[in-house]
Symmetry: C2
Subunit: 213 residues, 2 copies
DNA sequence: TGTTTCGATTTTGTATACAAAAATGACAAT
DNA sequence: ATTGTCATTTTTGTATACAAAATCGAAACA
């Protein structure tokens, strides 16, 4: 690689594979071909194996005895479960954020979703998606809770790989988002947290219907 | 190393090291000596490296560039954060458990902490500790939420390694435990969940005081 | 006593080797 | 067409090798 090796090879391989999973180059359930990665990345078996073990530790991939590594595939039920878990974690994150954030940070959050008006153009729809992501990750950041942030890193990405776009349309979620923001503005930590939890649980309800049980 | 190799060596090494961390044979902050593990477990570098990478993926240990692996050491702040996170996750677990559990399972939960009376003998104190652990993990099991269960596996063990015994004395927590159980018996999912969350947040408040900030 | 220097030793990160298991695929028999 | 057999190829899990970096320790110095 570069002349100055700042990171070890394993780290590089690890992040490359992680991105390949997130961007769909490696699809859920797909077998991971080590030899291919080897020549593709120009490294030996060892860093590949290390990176794969690391990913297996994070359960992003799974090792099946004597047949190699496979990209983890989430069942419909697991996705439903994910939204309940996210509801719990982000609810608490929101509550803590309201308790800890500075006035300026609260002010900043207030501006999210301020100028959304319907009907949404194609571009505005995508902007809504982006704002949604930023809103949620900002609250997790402002929670200042290292464990919650770790949980989000571990489990938050699943939504990106396993679902496409928004679970519910903007005209259904905008009201909830604005209610959460109002509670944040009022520094009502408990209420803001509860609203966030219910927000996710409502998305969960939508996903449950899509599951063939 | 039996005649029939049912698990791969890496799995065996992984679990051995994990236990060594949980039982304190490898203390937080300690450097992990690969060569030593090699001869101790009678395997080559490779399975050791794979197991260590796996543990690093789970953040149980951390890899410092060119100086090896170290058992992760949790700061006081991180422990405080852990209890807020647990409050969120177990609160939701409790809520889901009440929604999903059968009558028999609810009945079973009702018996926890039933015959605790004060003052506690040494033995009764340890029994209380055990009941506490069982109570919490049973609720997580009965939540039937795979993601929450995974989160608990990843993060729940930290309490074992980083704290000794109970954070608060039984005579302080017994009331909270019984209130949670009462809400569960009444099938009041929301209330039971909230009480569980507050239960953990109160332990968190105790830990905050121990932190020199 | 307490530092600093510097060579010897250990450990790390990476590469390579290889037996055994699994996947593949051509061919034969239904 | 489907199924079964079995030799060939690929891949896996594990072991070993090795240059470069980090650590250690003793000697030299303050």
């Amino acid at each position: 690689m570069g002349l100055i090796e700042t990171r070890i090879l394993t780290d590089h391989v690890y992040e490359t594979i992680k991105l390949m999973i997130r961007d769909g180059a490696l699809r859920p359930g797909a077998k991971i071909n080590k030899k291919e990665l080897e020549s593709q990345l120009g490294v030996s078996q060892t860093p590949i194996n290390d990176a794969l073990s690391r990913l297996a530790g994070q359960k992003h991939i799974e090792q099946r005895n004597r047949r190699g590594y496979f990209v983890r595939k989430y069942s419909c039920k697991e996705l439903v479960d994910l939204f309940a878990a996210r509801g719990a974690v982000e609810g608490m994150a929101t509550r803590l954020a309201v308790e800890n954030a500075s006035d300026a940070e609260i002010e900043q959050i207030t501006h999210f979703f301020a100028e959304v008006s319907f009907p949404l153009s194609e571009a505005a729809y995508h902007a809504y998606e982006r704002t949604d992501r930023e809103f949620h990750s900002l609250l997790i950041e402002y929670s200042r809770n290292a464990i919650i942030q770790e949980m989000n890193e571990q489990f938050g990405y699943i939504v990106r790989t396993a679902t496409t776009g928004l679970v519910r349309p903007p005209d259904e979620t905008i009201g909830e988002h604005r209610a959460i923001i109002a509670a944040i503005r009022d520094r009502n930590a408990r209420l803001a947290g509860e609203l966030m939890t219910e927000h996710h649980l409502r998305s969960r309800d939508v996903l449950v219907k899509d599951c063939r049980d």
